[in-house]
Structure formats: C-alpha cells, structure tokens
Amino acid sequence: MARLGLTPPHPHRPAAGSPARRLARLAVRAGGACVIVGLLAMCAQPATAAGKPRTILVLYSNSRLLPANQEFDRGFRATLLNTPDRQVVLFEEFLGSPRFAGRAYEQTMSRYLLGKYGSGPPAVIVTVSEAALDFVLRNRAGLFPRVPVVHLAVPRPFLRPLAPLPADVVGVPVDYDVAGTIGLALRLHPRARRLVLVTGASAADRVWEARVREETRCFAPRAAREFLAGQPTEVVLKRLRELGHDAVVFTPGYFQDGAGRDFAPREAAAAMAAASAAPVYGPYDTFVGAGVVGGRMPDFEDMGRQAGELAGRLLDGVEPAALRPPKAVPTNWVLDGRQVHRWGIDARAIPGDAVVRFRTPAFWEVYRREALAGAAALMVQAGLIIWLVLERRRRRRAEQSSQEHRLDLARAARFAVAGTLTGAIAHEINQPLGAILSNTDAAELILESGADRCDQLRGILPDIRRDALRASEVIRRLRGLLAMQEVERRPFDLSETAREVEAMLRAEAQRRRVSLYIGPVATSATMVGDRIQIQQVLLNLVLNAMDEVAGLPDGRRRVVVSVERLARGVVIAVRDFGRGIAPEHMAKIFDSFFTTKQGGMGLGLSVAKMLVEAQGGRIWAENGLTEGAVFRVELPASGAKGFRAPGHS
C-alpha cells in the first residue's frame, strides 16, 4: 500500500521560519474570529463538564484506504478509546495529497471543514503526516484556531523549518532512516557493489530523490550508486529485471512515474520488488509484505498510539505545553522473513533487535510440542525396539541353552533309563549270545563226533544267524536310546516305536513280574517328530507305571499301553493298576525333582513332559475310575498344524 502519503515538503515552500511568520499574520488577521472560536471553545467546555462526548478530528494527508492510515487508526483508537469513561467521537478527513494540492483546493477544503464541523468544533485535531500538518498550520486561523493540534508521522526534516511550533501544536516527529536502511541492506548483502536508487516524477517524489541523493553519498565508496529517477515504470522494471546479484535496490516508491501514471508508493515498490533480480529495500513499514526486504523504519501503529496518548491527555485537560511528548517515534529494524530466505541472507548479519515479519516459522517453532512428542515417542520406540532386539537375542540364547539343556537332560534321562534297564538289556543281549555260543559248541561237538549229521548242522546255522541279528538289534535299540542326537523331525511309525519299546521293556517287565500289554497300534500311525524322544516318553511312562504297581498282588501288577487315533493326532495312554495319584500330588507330578518314590530322582515324568511339549504335544495324568492312574500323551499327527516342516529344529 502507499506510503502514508507523507507529503514531502512542497518545493515551493518558503525557507525555514516563514511558515511561522505566516501563521502569526493569520492569527492577527483572524483576531475577530477569536471571539467566535473562544465561544466555541467555551461551548465545548460545558459539554465536557456534562460528560457529553467530545469530538476529535483526525486529518489524514492522503486517501482513506492507505494501509498506513489504517494501521495508524488501529493504534490511535486502541489507545484513545481504552479509557472507558472517556466519551469521544472520532471524525476522519482525508486531504488526498499529493493528488490534490494548491491554494484553491486548500480553501475549498477549509470551507468544507468549517461548514461540516463549525457547529460542533473538535476538541482536538490530529494531523497525520506532513501535508495535513502543513494544511492545518496554514489554515488554522480560519478553521479552529484554539483547538490544540497533535501531529504525527511528520518527518523530522519537515518539522525543522517550522520550529518553533505554536504551544498548542504538539507531536512526535518520525525518522525515515534512509541511510540506516541502505547501511543495513549493504550489510545483509556483503557482495553488493551497486546501489540502485529508484524515485518518481511527482514533486513529492523529487523531494525524496533529493534526500536519497544526499543521504546515500556516504555509501559511494562502498557501492556504485545508480539513480533511476522519474523514469517510466516499464523502464524501471526492465532495468531492475536485468540486475545481477551484485546490486541492492532502495526506493521510497513514488506517486507518479516518468510516464505520468499515478501510483501509491507501495504499489510502485511492490511492482519493483516483483520484477527486480536484486533485493529491494524501502523506508516505509508498509512496504514490508509487498516484496521489499525491509529497512529501518517506524511503525505506523506506534504512531497511532502516540497520537492517541497525546489526544487523550489533552481531552483530560492537560495543557498542551505540559505534555512533553517523546522526542521521536521509535524506529525498528523490520524485515520480511520470506525475502530474507529468498535472498539467502545470513541470519547472523540480521540485527538482534530486528522484527522479522512473515517469518516462515522454523519447523521447530511451529511443531515444537509435536516434534518433542514425536521425538520422545521415537526414542521410546527406538528404546523399545532395542530392548526387544536384545530381549529377543537373550531369549534366543536362552532358548538355545534351554534346548541344549533339554537335550542334555533328555540324554541324562535316557542314560538313567538305560541304567534302569541294564539288567534287562544284559539279559536281552546275553540271551542270543548264549544261544549262539551253545549252537556253535553243539556244531563243533557234532563235527568232532564224525557222525554224518548234516541235517542237524543245517538246523543250527540259521539259528545262529537269527540270534546274531537279534543281539545286534538290541544293541541298535540301545544305541538309539543313548545316542547324542539333535532333536529331529522326521516321519516315523508309531507302531514300530511302540513295538521297540515293548521289546526293550519285555525283559524288565519280566524281571519285575509286571505284565506289560501294549495294545495294537493303527498301521497308519505315521507321525512327524523325534522317534527317539517319543520312545523315551513311552519308556519313562511305562517304567513309572511299573514302579507304581511294584509290590502289589499279581492281578494288579499290570501296565497297559493303548494308542488311540484322533483326527488331530494320536493319544497314547499308559495305564497302571496301582494306588493312583494322591490329589495333593496331582499338580506336582510333572515337576522336576518331585518324587514319591524312595530313591527316585523325580525326573522321569518331568522329562517326559518336556519331550512331549517339545514335540508340540501335551501330557496329562488322571486317576482311573477304580484304581491306578492313566497318563495320556497327545501328539499332533503328521501334517497337522502346529508342526513345523521337517528339518527345522
């Protein structure tokens, strides 16, 4: 938007001091009017006493919709109206400078204002920027001579020739810091060697041109100055487009270009910033946001607040002379964050107290909380993952060691069983060996006798062969039982395993005088798993059952093994006819080292349970209906779900 239309001092303005003289003359000329004004003022006084609303006339130099004016208005109202019991009515008038100017216009405007507000003159007049102040000072005598004036947004250079102002004209001067802005620009762009200065063609623009030429002289050694003054906008934009990175542009905008086209300064600056290949700086706060990088500038809303403060105190009855306004409206470094980013300006070069507007907030600033939460979640997650990975490794190790442990234990249990069966095994082996020996002895004797008893010899040899095979079979079984083996998962025939168990235990059962009956096993009882381990389970259960029935009368020294085929697998039941399991032992019988037997280790059943579970099966015990106990082992059938593929251990 246009700069405030801070109408620069008119070129035809007389030298310093003359306006004051003119005002004095006016005051004398309007002596008669003083009475009227005094009356008016007196009229105003009772209104105050009665608490009636008083009016403030705000006279803007330029047109109504300039953003600078709007910002000023916002600050002004906020400050003035924030006192609740203050009854104020605000009126605004706009001089339309610099488009409308000249003596005739001023007279028309004076008449208009007098006609409009003559019946209820304002308590305070606020002028915004130099054109309005200039207008009021020159026409005050004919307008509202006794009404105090508050001026704002008037550059200090403009006020200098007016000093001293009448006592009831107070205000805060502003500084548009051309040198400061350009100095900052050159600091932010250290490689800039050219300083392009764009001004317009109107009288006000020429004042700015003169000022820019004057104030940039000091930068000449640092950067070559190039003036684009009073050029048509097309020419200006073309030149700016062709600039390289070694250039920095400064412009106060312009009201009129070299082709006579009217602009609001902000429009002009925005067009330049859009076209320029080099960064553009300006003196007005309102330029920031229009594409200009920034500058050192006062804030129009600040000015509004200052004006509101002063006007408010005047309404409160403070004498204008006693107001002591600040020396100046504060000037700030103001930058457009988007432009800072666009031109790659080093953040470290930006003054620490600079106001950076439109800053694209850093991710961190916008999503600080979310980022923290996210990071925390991520860390928690990462921690969790690490923990899980470690846990998994630990568990795998534990599993591995438990697997090894289990193998060791199973093996130890097998040795224990083998130890239990030593007598039976010796018997098993010695039986065929004895037969072989006796047969060979017999054959020898027959041969020695010289008698022709070939038929007898022919009967002996097959017997020897059969017994030799029998012995080797016992040894094979024993080796199978004792071999240090990995757990394997292979198809095997349960009926064959049952037969082997029966063969292994036959002698032992005989020794213990227990009748062992292993029921028929379905021919299709093919399972997948570790044959030796299942054999071990059966051995343990049968030996346990044999222990149970030891010492009982003949009829009860029985152990019956049956195999039942289910859809999901098989159930092997080992039944004894002993005393059964005491209820208080039921929960513990599969625990390691739990035993009710004298000399028992308490490992048989726990090993059986461990092996069964390793095969994906389950084992449980219950008491028979009338006597004894039944141990059942359920094993998944081959191909049943829950079994891993063979070869995976």
């Binding site: 030593t422 007598g423 039976a424 010796a426 018997h427 098993e428 082996i429 010695n430 039986q431 065929p432 060996l433 004895g434 037969a435 072989i436 020996l437 006796s438 047969n439 002895d441 017999a442 054959a443 020898e444 004797l445 027959i446 006798s449 007898q456 009967g459 002996i460 017997d463 059969r466 017994d467 029998r470 002698a507 005989q510 020794r511």
Partner: protein, 206 residues
C-alpha cells in the same frame, strides 16, 4: 532204568533253549527243554540220574522259586543256574539254597559242561546215599521187636550185662540177639552199629 543222565533245561528263550538242548545232546547227554517252571512241573520227573539247568528269570515263578519248591517236594535234582544277568542277590540266594553253580550267559561250553558234570556227580552221590539209606532201612525193618530193643541199647552204648539186667533176660540171650542184629544190619562191630544208627536217625529226620 537208563543210566544216561537226563538234563532238564528250563529257559523261556526258545532259541537259547533249543541251542542248549542241542549242545547237551551233542555232548552225550539227554536233554529236555521247558519254557517255564509250569511246563516242567506239569511233566513227571523220571527217576533217572540227572540235573537241572535253570534260568533265573522266567515267566511266572522264577528259577529260584522252582528250586525251592523242588526241595520242599524232596525232588533232589541238583540245580545249575544259568542267567542272563547275574545280580548278587539272586546268586547268593541260589547258592545258599544248594545250587551247584550260578553261570552267566553266554556260557563257555567247558564251564557249562563242568558245572553239569559236578551236578551229575552230586546227583549220583545223592542217589547212592539215598540207595544205601533205603537198604539200611530195609535191613532195619527186618529186626524183630526184641532185637530192636537190644539194638537201641547197644547204640546207647550199654554193655550186654546192663542190657540183660534191664530186660530181665539172661546175658547169653542178649549176646545171641546182638549177633542177630549185627548180622541183619551187616555191621562188624558195635562202633559200626553206632554209625549205622546215626545214619538211620538222619534218614528218618531228613
């Protein structure tokens, strides 16, 4: 009555049993096989020289139990045990019960035959003793009651005169009866008569 020794082989292992019977046959014995103690008991035991080759572990009653049962029944067949697994307890029990030997399978032919020979020798000895005792009892049975009165007193170590006083008989009569007793029992002296009397006591006790 054949003089050839008969060996009873009790073993539940058919293969071993067959082999043993075969070996004993080749070694000049007659051998019979039984699969269990029951099998053996079901058959009459012929009164022949012989012995038993007995497995300890058998279905039903064991070899040791059979041994004990036979002794109770007065079947005096000497027993040689042959076992697949010799544990101390059963071997001690067997030997205490009078087993000739306690062998472990597989057994060397010489060891087996030696044990069997000893068993047969024992059997022969027992058989002789049993025959002599029987003969003694027969002779003893021929003594008249009056002669038995005199025999008892001679064995008790009394002199003819003391016996005559006790029985209120003449010493000459006693002398005559002593001569009859000595002749009937085949004893040459009073000391021999004492030994005979002891054997008779043992026989009647056993």
């Amino acid at each position: 009555m054949s003089t050839r020794a008969l060996i009873h082989v009790v073993d539940d292992d058919e293969s071993l049993r067959t082999a043993l019977v075969r070996l004993l046959g080749a070694a000049g014995f007659e051998a019979r096989g039984y699969a269990s103690t029951g099998d053996f008991l079901l058959q009459p035991v012929p009164d022949r020289p012989g012995c038993m080759l007995l497995d300890v572990r058998l279905p039903g009653p064991s070899g040791l139990e059979l041994q004990a049962a036979l002794q109770r029944q007065g079947v005096a067949l000497p027993v040689v045990f042959l076992t697949g697994h010799a544990d101390v307890a059963s071997s001690v029990r067997a030997m205490k019960a009078g087993a000739v030997d306690f062998l472990t399978k597989p057994v060397e032919r010489a060891t087996l035959l030696d044990a069997l020979q000893r068993a047969l020798a024992l059997d022969a000895l027992q058989r002789t003793a049993r025959d002599e005792g029987a003969r003694l009892r027969e002779r003893f049975a021929t003594l008249k009651p009056c002669e038995r009165e005199v025999f008892d007193r001679i064995v008790a170590g009394k002199l003819n005169k003391q016996i005559a006083d006790e029985l209120k008989l003449a010493e000459r009569t006693i002398k005559l009866r002593r001569a009859h007793v000595m002749a009937k029992l085949g004893a040459g002296s009073a000391a021999e008569l004492g030994r005979l009397a002891e054997r008779l006591r043992n026989l009647s006790d056993g």
